[in-house]
């Protein structure tokens, strides 16, 4: 790692020169010019689908721009591959780190690098010694004997960083590096990033978490619909400014008005036991949103899955309209009017290789068929109706869901389950990793559904979200119900306090 003399600090190490990228007829990145300066952390902000990922991929050499070019140290360069980019000191850390989980830290750090010694023979002791030096520079003490798959998320991030440093990275690109980290781990990562910056590394930092950006970055760039909105020093902007630029309007009413409907009870849980869940009793009412808060591992997701029939209750009962549905299978529970919208849209919600139409049909095969024969026209009509209703941005219902942005993918998942016309909608982290604009749409949708008499239960790790959309909030602590509170009489702090409190 080289330290850049201060006098050169103003010359951009990496410049994008009017870069555009087209996928078919759609221009996802349009005429973007950016300068990355050595010794500076540059935040790249924008909603999902704004073009951040595409831009990162171009910078890392994964894809080539359709128009424009990259300059490195002022010289136009064409990056043909990731390797090409790394040879020129540009290293990107993807959101899902590309470490080999079965190899130890040292082997991961030096993977694919030519080292001195006997060719083809791995000198484990030498590797470990060098790796330890690198990790010490990052202030890390990481066991070199265990496979990295067994290390914590932050340790894995550090190893990925070390891997970048031994490759003499002058430009580091980080995509949502804190998505899997706790607050303490995030702080640890930031310390290291600041140290790297002070040594002269240019860092491009992509994150949805604005408070992080304001504590870390020196400069911020906002993209919207593939266009460059502005680039400003972080000291000359604020959260409202950024959000307004991201969504192209003032950050107004994100959350809809609360329900005044008292609602009749639809669903009752009676001392439900599960793997983690311990004797939970609660009630969900028609026309109301029930939020479930709790720390990771508090059993909040499991509780939803038990209600939905995805997992079996080990004790207690679940009553829908007074009918015991505790032992019913997932399919039978869906038929009874309860649907569960899973947490991970890619791995649990969607068949990525299929079309919007086929994905929406998947939970509705019976109603969209006669005697086992699927009715293509009815599938199309259904998909078109839902696409219009949920404002899914797509070229046609035959488009592959893999080609949609995260927010639109989430809407397809919702469409699929809403088509069952449930009485009770269970949402597990319904807005994770999607942009503010789509979040607001989903909040409005939830309220619209409850106004039509649906009962909604939402699990979210974002307490402000629960405070905004829920009428009542159930707080869980290690599987026990701590308290049920009214959302409009609670605050972020009071809920968080309950999350950490053991029930009596």
């Amino acid at each position: 790692m080289k330290t850049t003399p201060h006098a050169e600090a103003l010359a951009a190490v990496l410049t994008t020169n009017s870069i555009s990228k087209d996928y078919g007829p759609v221009r996802v990145v349009s005429d973007i010019s950016l300068d990355l300066l050595p010794g500076s952390i540059h935040a790249l902000l924008g909603e999902n689908g704004a073009g951040k990922s595409t831009l990162i991929k171009i910078l890392a050499g994964i894809i080539a721009p359709s128009e424009g070019f990259i300059e490195i140290d002022g010289m136009p360069r064409e990056l043909r591959s990731v390797r090409d980019g790394q040879a020129r000191g540009i290293v990107a850390l993807p959101q899902e780190l590309t470490l080999v989980p079965t190899l130890a830290a040292a082997e991961n750090i030096y993977l694919g690098m030519r080292r001195t010694g006997w060719p083809g023979i791995s000198n484990r002791r030498g590797l470990d010694r060098d790796a330890r030096v690198q990790l010490e520079r990052l202030g890390q003490e990481i066991s070199l004997d265990v496979p990295v798959g067994e290390l914590s998320a932050v340790q894995q991030t550090m190893i990925a960083l070390a891997r970048a440093i031994v490759r003499d990275a002058r430009v580091l690109i980080l995509d949502e590096p804190t998505a899997a980290l706790t607050d303490a781990e995030t702080e640890q990562l930031f310390t290291v990033l600041r140290a790297l910056r002070d040594e002269g590394t240019a860092i491009l930092y992509v994150s949805h978490r604005l408070e992080e950006v304001f504590s870390l970055a020196d400069t911020a760039t906002v993209l919207r619909n593939g266009h460059h909105v502005w680039t400003k020093p972080i000291s000359e902007t604020n959260t409202n400014d950024v959000v307004a630029a991201m969504i192209g309007r003032e950050h107004g009413q994100v959350f809809p008005a609360r329900s005044t409907n008292a609602g009749i009870p639809l669903l009752a849980l009676n001392k439900v036991q599960g793997h983690r869940v311990r004797g939970i009793s609660l009630e969900a009412r028609a026309g109301r949103v029930l939020g479930i808060a709790g720390l990771a591992g508090s059993g909040r997701s499991e509780l939803l899955k038990i209600i939905a029939g995805v997992e079996r209750a080990q004790g207690g009962s679940v009553l829908l309209d007074g009918i015991d549905i505790t032992r019913r299978s997932l399919a039978a529970t869906m038929n009874a009017g309860i649907v569960y919208v899973p947490e991970e849209r890619r791995s649990q919600g969607l068949v990525m290789s299929d079309t919007i139409e086929a994905n929406i049909a998947l939970a509705n095969l019976r109603s969209l068929s006669v005697a086992g024969v699927a009715l293509r026209s009815r599938e199309s009509a259904t998909a078109k109706r839902r696409v219009a209703e949920l404002q899914i941005k797509t070229t046609s219902v035959r488009q592959l869901v893999a080609e949609l942005s995260g927010g639109n993918q989430q809407k397809v998942v919702l469409a699929k389950y809403l088509e069952r016309e449930p009485k009770i909608l269970l949402l597990d982290e319904p807005t994770r990793g999607i942009d503010i604009g789509t979040k607001a749409e989903i909040y409005q949708l939830i309220r619209r559904l409850t106004n039509n008499g649906m009962a909604v239960i939402v699990v979210s790790s974002e307490i402000p979200e629960l405070l905004g959309i829920a009428d009542e909030i159930v707080v869980l602590h290690e599987g026990h119900l701590t308290e049920i509170v009214s959302a409009d009489q609670s605050s972020n702090e009071s809920i968080l306090h309950l999350c950490y409190r053991k029930p009596e």
């Binding site: 078919g24 007829p25 759609v26 221009r27 619909n225 593939g226 192209g248 309007r249 995805v310 997932l330 399919a331 869906m334 569960y340 899973p342 791995s347 649990q348 919600g349 969607l350 068949v351 990525m352 290789s353 299929d354 086929a358 049909a361 998947l362 939970a363 095969l365 019976r366 068929s369 086992g372 024969v373 699927a374 293509r376 404002q391 941005k393 070229t395 046609s396 035959r398 592959l400 699929k416 604009g437 607001a440 749409e441 409005q444």
Partner: protein, 334 residues
């Protein structure tokens, strides 16, 4: 709420939208049709080299007859591969069912009853595979590799390791007879392929097969009984393999304990060749037919050219690799 969100991308994009689906359909087809071009190229090559023999209706019928039995196995292999699994036991199961049929017939059983029982034994074998994969959770590779070995052993046991002769003419007609100019195996294969096409593309079961292959967890959470869906794919596979074994036995007029074994690898090759035509990397029955066409035309053409059969085998491998890598290449370029 409706008006708060910006319109799709830019006006330029929406202007193009009317023309977009058709254009993308065409370019998509061209970009991923390396395999299809390969088939046409092969036909053109042999037609130029041996026009008088290759390009005749008689030879066309020959090709169809040669691939008919493989087509039955490949059709059901397509189903298993749609679900995301393999069935390595199809070849040895077809051999086993062939031996069972031959032994029942030699023992004097009525052909209709013998065929019925043979088909049942194939379905039972498929159920065993399906149970191992779907309900016990073993990998399809391991389970069908194991059952393949056992099926071969059973076939050897039931035949004492020799060829079983002496089948009635009424039965042999299934493999050697013709309706007009069309050989019986071709008719049976066409019926099976149409059936598989219908189920795969038009029914709830077909949708479920594709969904489970695409993302089993998403299918499960959508209320699909994924275990049953996988199980049923292997049932279909057992049925198809049994049918192929019966027709092959009739065609050879004898039951041989390893007669159908090579069908397994060829069927997987045909499905793979077909996958190169698909937009999403999922097998389709249409793709499998093109794959079958390549395998059939290649073998037939090389025979006509009197290429040494060992060389033929080498060339078949090379051409499969060429086709698959060509289509990968065209996909990467996009």
């Amino acid at each position: 709420m409706m008006t708060l969100f910006p319109p799709l991308r830019s006006p330029k994009t929406s202007k193009n939208q009317g023309a977009f689906p058709r254009k993308s359909f065409l370019s998509r087809r061209l970009a991923s049709s390396g395999t299809l071009i390969g088939l046409v190229g092969l036909i053109a090559l042999f037609a130029v080299l041996r026009p008088k023999i290759f390009l005749t209706p008689l030879n066309f019928t020959n090709i169809l007859e040669q691939i008919a039995i493989l087509a039955m196995v490949a059709a059901v292999q397509t189903i298993v591969m749609v679900v995301g699994d393999f069935d390595l036991s199809v070849g040895s199961l077809a051999s086993l069912v062939g031996v069972i049929t031959a032994q029942l017939l030699v023992g004097g059983m009525d052909p209709v009853l013998a065929i019925f029982l043979a088909l049942c034994s194939g379905i039972i074998a498929g159920a065993i595979n399906g149970f191992l994969v779907a309900y016990l959770g073993l990998s399809a590779f391991i389970s069908t590799l194991a059952t393949m070995t056992s099926f071969t052993g059973l076939a050897l046991l039931l035949s004492n390791g020799t060829t079983v002769f002496g089948l009635p003419d009424a039965f042999i007609w299934l493999g050697q007879g013709r309706v007009g100019p069309v050989p019986m195996p071709v008719i049976i294969a066409v019926i099976l392929v149409i059936l598989v096409w219908f189920v795969l593309s038009k029914t709830v079961l077909g949708r479920s097969w594709y969904a489970v292959g695409g993302n089993s967890e998403a299918a499960r959470l959508s209320g699909v009984n994924t275990n049953l869906v996988r199980f049923s794919a292997f049932l279909a596979s057992g049925f198809g393999a049994a049918l192929a074994g019966i027709v092959l036995t009739a065609r050879l007029a004898s039951g041989h304990p390893s007669a159908a074994d090579p069908l397994m690898l060829s069927s997987i090759a045909a499905v793979f060749l077909g996958i190169t035509l698909s937009r999403t990397g999922q097998p389709t029955i249409g793709g499998t037919i093109v794959g079958l066409g390549i395998v059939g035309v290649l073998n037939n053409g090389l025979n006509i050219l009197q290429v040494n059969s060992y060389v033929q085998q080498v060339l078949t491998g090379v051409i499969i690799i060429l086709a698959v890598s060509l289509s990968l290449f065209s996909k990467k370029r996009r």
